[in-house]
């Protein structure tokens, strides 16, 4: 096995171009599991931890550019105010040891339907920056996940950053598993209200072959909020509306039965989480927290 250890972005992109089969490794919390259990032995590993651009984040014209190699611990500590939805999801990743090492770039590279960051990225309308020696392109999160553990990155590309405008309204993240720590979620839900654009965004995890948005639920809730004048009045969210939203989110799922849970349980828990999340987010909106 070759081990490639570039120290600049240019070197990293050149290495990926020359070794398209090389697997990028940052925190190692996913790649190493596969290797230790001999499930997967890549022809080469590309250590991206020494490329400083990947481990930095910054603001540019109101948008956050989050380097793909920033750890979950740093997202929680440094971006909790700007990106509360992603920070909430980050708090639930693995264990403290895993959060000290794991990165959103790794979550995206693995593209597991159960990845914790995906619902938050989908709800925030995030974009994924991909670089190769041929140049840079950007893919919207909802177009990034192509299938079970398949993503839109070409073999010569590296996932270099996540670019997103912090949602203007409250955000929530919920997931369900057998315990709090060290679980692969049975179902997960991310929500962001965008009162500036009068839109609602969602992300659902572990309930379909890929992370995805619940489009019909988003449109339904945005239309109801609009027609009832709730964005302006900030009146209480009708219980029936929250429940209906939960049912519509559930309808976007297409889960399977597996060792972690049945399809029926996943769908039921998704509806419950969506109903609760929208209620919490709306309460935050009414009290003007996070707006």
């Amino acid at each position: 096995m070759d081990f490639l250890q570039p120290s600049t972005m240019a070197e990293a992109l050149a290495a990926k171009a020359e070794h398209p089969g090389a697997v990028p490794i940052a925190g190692g919390t996913d790649v190493m599991v596969e290797m230790n259990f001999d499930k997967h032995r890549p022809p080469a590993l590309l250590d991206v931890t020494r490329v400083s651009e990947l481990t930095e984040w910054g603001m540019d014209d109101g948008r956050v550019r989050l380097g793909a190699g920033v750890s979950y611990t740093r997202i929680i500590d440094e971006l909790g105010d700007r990106l509360p939805g992603l920070a909430m999801a980050s708090r639930t990743v693995g264990s403290p040891q895993i959060r000290n090492r794991g990165t959103v770039g790794g979550n995206l590279g693995a593209a597991s339907p159960a990845g914790d960051a995906h619902p938050a990225l989908l709800a925030a309308d995030a974009e994924i920056e991909l670089q190769s020696t041929a140049g840079t392109r950007v893919v919207k999160a909802h177009e990034f996940y192509l299938g079970v553990k398949r993503n839109a990155a070409r073999r010569d590309e590296l996932i270099t950053a996540i670019v997103l405008t912090p949602p203007s309204g409250p955000q929530q993240f919920c997931k369900i598993g057998t315990r709090n720590a060290m679980v692969i979620s049975v179902a997960a839900f991310g929500l962001a209200l965008h009162p500036d654009r009068r839109v609602v965004r969602t992300g659902i995890g572990s309930v379909a072959p890929t992370p995805r948005r619940a489009y019909a639920a988003e449109e339904f809730l945005a239309a109801e909020l609009e027609s009832a004048g709730l964005w302006e009045s900030r009146a209480e969210l009708p219980t029936a509306l929250a429940r209906e939203f939960g049912e519509k989110v559930k309808a976007a799922g297409a889960p399977i039965d597996d060792v972690r849970g049945t399809a029926a349980y996943r769908l039921h828990s998704l509806a419950v989480m969506a109903r609760r999340a929208v209620t919490w987010a709306w309460t935050d909106y009414r009290t003007a927290r996070g707006t």
């Binding site: 264990s95 403290p96 895993i98 000290n100």
Partner: protein
């Protein structure tokens, strides 16, 4: 390669697939860090890498050049046990002892993280002044103890936290 462990630089010749855990145990004879699950679930291999608690089974040794590794073997000082080690003894924070080095290294990292004001999944909008039992349980959730010595571990860490 050179690996800095507990303040000492060590020369090693390794296959590039060697994990940090295997480098410590098989090549440097530092067998305090344990291999429980080998995939990051159990925390028995927890070491501090540049001061941050890390599962040594999920790190390739070759990526640790130029970084500082701290293991259980380097924790006690010339004046005796580290306060966390002492508290584990006083409060019976173990039974078989297999998870203990990982628990202790994790606790050392955890106390420092709390000092820095890092929130956990159970922290609300304002961090509590001291480490409560739910905070300790959540913050130590990356370390499993199959004997079930959690009661003693919680007592030990509550004691250390109240003294620091």
């Amino acid at each position: 390669m050179q690996l800095s462990v507990n303040g000492q630089s060590r020369d090693l010749e390794l296959d590039n697939r060697t994990t940090l855990l295997d480098a410590l145990r098989e090549h440097l004879g530092l067998i305090g860090s344990k291999k429980g699950c080998d995939h990051g679930q159990c925390g028995a291999c927890t070491v501090l890498l540049d001061g941050r608690r890390t599962n040594a089974c999920l790190v390739l040794a070759v990526t640790c050049a130029g970084r500082e590794v701290a293991t259980i073997e380097g924790l006690a000082g010339p004046d005796g046990l580290h306060p966390v080690q002492q508290a584990f003894v006083e409060h019976d924070g173990f039974q078989c002892g297999y998870c203990t080095p990982g628990q202790i290294m994790s606790a050392v990292g955890m106390l420092e993280e709390f000092e820095r004001g890092w929130p956990s999944a159970v922290t609300g909008e304002v961090q509590p002044a001291g480490l409560t039992a739910p905070e300790i349980r959540e913050r130590m959730s990356g370390n499993l103890c199959r004997c079930g010595a959690y009661v003693g571990i919680l007592a030990a860490l509550t004691d250390v936290a109240s003294r620091s």
